[in-house]
């Protein structure tokens, strides 16, 4: 049987332009609109999580000053903050937001391969967010089990939200997984099957590589979470004992017996660790493109960058139990997982070196997106180095469940990806909206965010060394802590409030620029990749007008010697400008 690719049938396929308001902006099947819907919902729910974190910090810095924060609500805030930030903000924003917007444009496609499924994905995602937020308002409130939801405590009396909160959390996760799967199938198939002429895999921008690999991780890691959610719902609702051991609660023997709490931890972290890279890999990709564009230099070691992304993606599935050194699992596991964890540092360090070498002797334009991208290199190195401490069993044991861990993962997968989110929003804002943002406000936003993040998380490392435990509502009568630890906590809280308020600058900037920003010129940064080469800015439905683009070179021909322009778009044929560098054999 012969199959004719979508590319070759391009002129036969009819493209229906949406004409009503509803089909254009609400029930839209256009990947660009869906991307902005995904991003908008994610950022909105992220603001909720940001407010929750400030409430937590108020309690930690100035104990018992706010009446609405009691131990129960504190644990609910901790749980919801973590879950929202990791899953509903970062995963959704990188894959659903940037993935949706950039994959078809960067591959030279008209849309995703299955636009209808794509539209379903965003609405099911919205449903999962609604279910999640609804759990605040049910009897007993949201679950307070911590974002890891470890049984037995997540199902036992005494933990907030064991009636309905935990069920809504698990159902919401299940619904989110359905949404992520529908979207993810689309992203992977689009990258594999719907690239334009000349766009080989080794000519794809690193953004696409990062999002593509992360989506595969999502498709393979979320199943473990789905299964553990189903098992936990059964344990909670009909009294099975998958995760629940025999327990005595308030003097009464519970009906559970012989379940394996550690099984949940294994399933959860088999999802949870790839999840770290589901967030990190798109950030790696996006930041590479921002750095290369604003440094006017090709990304250093493109081929190795691609292999590093794939290697990290593969390794991320065999490191999960480094989250479980203190769980009581077989100690020999610790040896294996510590080894794989340290091995994963090699491709990661390779990427960092390549980013720095991309900047080396580049023609740096320190605009807002570039500042955020360079800021990312700092915070990521910082968070990565503390990861080497925690990856070793013997060093992890005393540091486990202290603020050192909190500082580590906030630096490496909180602050760092968020800095890339801002870099990418500023970088692609002119393309998405057709208007320029305010550079001065953007720079203020960067410096307050970057320095604010250090003011918040750097001291936490010291608190961790002092032995301050994480997830405690109040430190109470802890003689081993010096008075300065409490002062430090107050200072962190003040910094966190300033950091949170600084984000207002971002929203002001975005909304002001949407209304009255300067009109953006096409390809305003002088970039080479396809998304900037559409006939219209912002691109219209169908992206490319009548003819699909044709690609003749990789995405990083910046400052090719002997050329007038310091960038050569991917569509410029080799007869006009010699191909600076290409990978692989003859293609066409």
């Amino acid at each position: 049987m012969s199959y004719v690719s979508l590319y070759d049938r391009d002129h036969e396929i009819e493209h229906h332009d949406p004409d009503t308001f509803l089909t254009k902006y609400v029930w839209s099947q256009d990947h660009k609109v869906i991307a902005i819907q995904y991003g908008g919902i994610a950022i909105l729910v992220g603001v909720v999580a940001l407010v929750l974190s400030i409430l937590m910090r108020l309690q930690l810095g100035f104990p018992n000053t706010l009446a609405i924060i009691n131990p129960e609500s504190y644990y609910q805030f901790v749980t919801m903050h973590g879950m929202i930030m990791v899953v509903y903000l970062l995963t959704a924003l990188f894959l659903g937001g940037f993935g949706n917007y950039l994959i078809p444009l960067m591959c030279g496609a008209r849309d995703m391969v299955f636009p209808f499924l794509n539209m379903l994905s965003v609405w099911v995602y919205l449903l999962s967010v609604i279910i999640l937020i609804a759990s605040f308002f049910v009897p007993g409130g949201a679950t307070g089990a911590g974002w890891t939801l470890y049984p037995p405590q997540s199902l036992s009396a005494g933990t907030p939200g064991t009636d309905l909160g935990i069920i809504l959390m698990l159902v919401s996760l299940g619904v989110f997984i359905v949404a992520a799967t529908m979207g993810g199938l689309n992203y992977v198939t689009t990258v594999l099957q719907y690239r334009c002429k000349g766009m080989t895999l080794m000519r794809l921008p690193l953004s696409v590589w990062g999002i593509f690999t992360a989506t595969i991780l999502a498709l393979l890691a979320f199943p473990a979470l789905l299964v553990s959610a189903i098992m936990m719902i059964l344990d909670h609702s009909i009294g099975t004992s998958f995760f629940m051991p025999a327990m005595i609660s308030a003097g009464e023997q519970l009906s559970y017996n012989d379940g394996s709490p550690i099984l949940f931890q294994h399933l959860f972290w088999f999802f949870g660790h790839p999840e770290v890279y589901i967030v990190a890999l798109p950030a790696f990709g996006l930041v590479s493109d921002v750095l290369a564009t604003h440094a006017r230099k090709n990304i250093f070691g493109y081929r190795m960058m691609v292999w590093a992304i794939l290697a990290i993606g593969g390794l991320s599935f065999i490191v999960w139990a480094h989250h479980m050194y203190v769980s009581g699992m077989n100690p020999y596991f610790g040896f294996f997982f510590a080894t794989t964890t340290l091995i994963i540092a090699v491709p990661t360090a390779l990427k960092v070196y390549n980013w720095v070498l991309t900047l080396w002797q580049g023609n740096l334009h320190l605009r807002t997106p570039m500042l955020f991208a360079i800021g990312f290199i700092f915070t990521f190195i910082h968070g990565g180095l503390t990861g080497l401490f925690l990856g070793n069993v013997t060093i992890d044991l005393p540091l486990s469940d202290t603020y050192f861990v909190v500082a580590h993962f906030h630096m490496v997968m909180g602050v760092s990806p968020i800095l890339v989110v801002f870099a990418s929003i500023y970088h692609w804002f002119p393309l998405m909206s057709g208007r320029m943002f305010n550079e001065t406000l953007g720079k203020w936003h960067f410096w307050l965010t970057f320095l604010g993040a250090y003011a918040v998380y750097l001291p936490m490392h010291y608190l961790g060394f002092q032995g301050v435990p994480r997830r405690y509502f109040s430190l109470g009568n802890t003689d081993f802590l010096p008075e300065s630890a409490h002062t430090l906590n107050a200072s962190i809280t003040v910094s966190a409030i300033i950091l949170a308020l600084a984000q207002i600058l971002f929203f002001v900037n975005i909304f002001m620029s949407l209304r009255s920003g300067k009109k953006a010129k096409p390809n305003c940064w002088g970039a080479t990749s396809l998304e900037w080469l559409t006939p219209d800015t912002p691109p219209k439905h169908g992206n490319w007008g009548h003819d699909l683009p044709e690609v003749h070179r990789w995405a990083y021909d910046y400052s090719v010697p002997g050329q007038e322009q310091d960038f050569t778009p991917q569509t410029v044929p080799a007869s006009e400008v010699p191909v600076g560098r290409d990978h692989g054999v003859e293609h066409n």
Partner: protein, 229 residues
């Protein structure tokens, strides 16, 4: 190194380079219908779901302190006064494997553009699938009503037995039921000429078949790990 092995190594290198450049060539990596590519990726993801279920089941089986019920006794069916172990499961497995065969014939007829034969073969596949689900209902009700097996407890031993059984076979049964609906939708679209009007492309029958074979394959693993172990 002898001359032949040098040329062999060279041939291997060229071959590998060819594979790599085919895979990373422009436009598409696999020369298949995008729906087929998407189904393969989905099935890969689904494999991880069932693997997690089965690994979870094995773990709780190990952590259970009460003895694990003997599956050959629990799943026995009385025929003429004699209990025959795993009789019903054997019939169910046979039916499901047979349905894979009729599905494969349907795919073949689809590509031969034999609309009518494709329709009937898919219909037979769906009926076989539905009868599988029907027997599963029978099996469940026998366990629940006659033998007193519940997800949280059972008279024969470890409570995780019922929990894992109902969860895993239930999840698989839902896959089969969904597949029956999917098969029927595609079959009737084949019949009324829906795909004829769309470029006479019957790839969807094969895509549907991929899903169906996958569901069968999963059953083989459930059969091996749950019933035979």
């Amino acid at each position: 190194m002898s001359e032949t092995s040098v040329s062999e190594t060279q041939a291997l290198q060229e071959g590998l380079a060819g594979v790599a450049s085919d895979f990373s060539s422009d436009r598409q990596s696999f020369h298949v219908h995008w729906g087929k590519a998407m189904m393969w990726i989905f099935l890969l993801s689904d494999t991880f779901i069932f693997s997690s279920f089965l690994i979870g089941y094995m773990t709780v089986r190990m952590s259970a302190q009460d003895p694990w019920p003997l599956t050959s006794e629990v799943f026995a069916l009385s025929m003429g006064g004699e209990p025959i172990p795993l009789l019903l499961i054997a019939i169910m497995t046979f039916i499901l494997i047979t349905s894979s065969g009729t599905m494969a014939l349907a795919v073949n007829m689809g590509y031969a553009k034999e609309k009518k034969k494709t329709f009937y073969l898919m219909l037979i596949t769906a009926i076989l699938g539905a009868s599988f689900v029907g027997m599963q209902v029978f099996e469940w009700s026998k366990l629940i009503f006659d033998e007193g097996v519940r997800p949280w407890a059972n008279p024969m031993g470890a409570s995780q037995f019922g929990a894992a059984f109902f969860m895993i076979t239930g999840f698989h049964g839902m896959h089969v039921s969904g597949g029956v609906i999917y098969l029927l939708v595609v079959a009737f679209r084949v019949k009324n000429g829906f795909y004829e009007r769309r470029g006479n492309d019957y790839s969807i029958v094969e895509i549907c078949g991929l899903y169906w074979h996958f569901v069968d394959l999963v059953w083989v693993f459930i059969f091996a790990f749950f019933y035979l172990w």
